[in-house]
């Protein structure tokens, strides 16, 4: 068994040629049927991953830009709302002031009207009082006069009335 250890013994030139041909054929076949397609798919995957990374980066940038835009928009809207609110408040203040003013004028007018009314009433009351006083004094005077009349005078008076009544008839 050890004779094959020595290179010269059992030298098989055919093996050399066979091994060479077999290896070259194997290399060629594998290149065509296995390594080539495998290399292709690995390159393709590499490309795919690179594309995906690029796309992701692009999307991220887009999202960031959009976010900034939205943020600015939000700020603008907030400012607008604040201005609007202030405006409204100012308007409301003004309106309130106006209303107070109107109310004040109205009340003044009412007060004046009431004062005038009171004055008028008082005058009319004074006038009627005066009239009553006059009639009362006449009545008192007539009573007094009546009491002081004697029978004669009474008779005369009655006659006078009767005459008058007769005349009127």
């Amino acid at each position: 068994m050890f004779n094959s250890l020595i290179l010269g013994a059992g030298f098989a030139a055919g093996d050399i040629i066979y091994q060479l041909v077999a290896f070259i054929v194997l290399l060629a076949l594998l290149k065509k049927f296995a390594w080539g397609p495998l290399m292709g798919i690995m390159k393709e995957r590499e490309q795919h991953i690179a594309n995906e990374i690029d796309a992701a980066e692009k999307n991220r940038k887009e999202a960031e830009a959009f976010l900034n835009e939205q943020r600015d928009e939000m700020k603008r809207v907030r400012q607008e709302a604040k201005a609007m609110l202030e405006n409204q408040k100012q308007m409301a203040d003004q309106k309130g002031q106006e209303m107070i003013e109107a109310a004040r004028l109205e009340s003044e007018r009412l007060k004046e009207a009431a004062t005038a009314e009171i004055k008028r009433e008082r005058e009319s009351a004074v006038a009627s009082l005066r009239e009553q006083v006059a009639s009362l004094s006449v009545m008192i005077a007539s009573k007094v006069v009546e009491k002081e009349l004697d029978e004669r005078a009474q008779k005369q008076l009655i006659d006078e009335y009767l005459d008058q009544a007769g005349d009127q008839k």
């Binding site: 068994m1 004779n3 030298f11 091994q19 060479l20 290896f23 390594w35």
Partner: protein
């Protein structure tokens, strides 16, 4: 235990028919394995595709560690084929050996120095070929006398010693493994006690042989790339 090679003369050349058989089987296994693994390629790799892609990445790493990918990329297929072919060849002799009429038929093809030296010579010749092709004859020739002129004989010897060590390292490791496996198998077949005594060493040695076979395939491919880089790289 005594057995010879089944030789046959054909067209004035001597063929060792067991080598022819085992080379064919090893090549067929590598081819079938590679084709099955790359039959349904997908962007999302599954099963064997993962394995074959790992092999490709592994060889890429080997090449990348010795030379520039731009110069080394072309050796990727060579490296993958070498790695898988030598690995499969190393493994073939492990499970059993078939001997018919004292002629050894089933063994590792790499357990024969003719085969390993053929592979080694092929690799070294390829390094020279690519050296001339990629750097030009002048630069290639200059490689033999740099950095100093008197190193020329040593450089010349280096080429031969590289070839010899590359081939014989592989052969020695695999052949020794097979001899020991054969001896253990003989011991195991000698009787009940022998079987009992041989079982554990057999287990250990087969495991070790798997390891050695894998390492030798790796070393062979690695050194191929190193020699290649030595010849084709611009500076080293």
């Amino acid at each position: 235990m005594e057995h010879h090679a089944p030789t046959h003369d054909f067209l004035g050349l001597t063929f060792n028919l067991s080598n022819v058989l085992m080379i064919t089987i090893a090549s067929a296994i590598v081819f079938i394995l590679a084709v099955v693994a790359t039959r349904s390629l997908a962007m999302r790799p599954t099963g064997l595709q993962n394995f074959i892609e790992w092999v490709m990445d592994f060889v890429k790493g080997l090449i990348g560690s010795t030379m520039d990918w731009k110069t080394g990329g072309r050796f990727l297929f060579l490296g993958m084929t070498l790695l898988m072919y030598i690995f499969v060849s190393n493994m073939l002799g492990l499970p059993f050996a078939i001997t018919i009429d004292h002629e050894l038929w089933w063994k590792s093809p790499t357990a024969d120095p003719t085969i390993t030296l053929t592979l080694a010579t092929m690799v070294v010749v390829l390094t020279h070929y690519y050296g001339v092709k990629m750097k030009g004859p002048k630069e290639y020739g200059k490689g033999f006398i740099s950095p100093l002129k008197f190193l020329f004989p040593f450089k010349l010897i280096e080429e031969f010693s590289n070839t010899l060590t590359l081939g014989l390292r592989l052969y020695g490791n695999i052949y020794a493994g097979e001899i020991l496996l054969g001896l253990l198998a003989g011991l195991g077949a000698s009787g009940f006690g022998g079987a009992l005594g041989a079982f554990l060493p057999m287990l250990a040695w087969q495991g070790f042989s798997i390891f050695v076979g894998t390492i030798q395939a790796f070393i062979f491919t690695m050194l191929t790339m190193v020699y290649m880089a030595h010849k084709v790289a611009d500076d080293h």
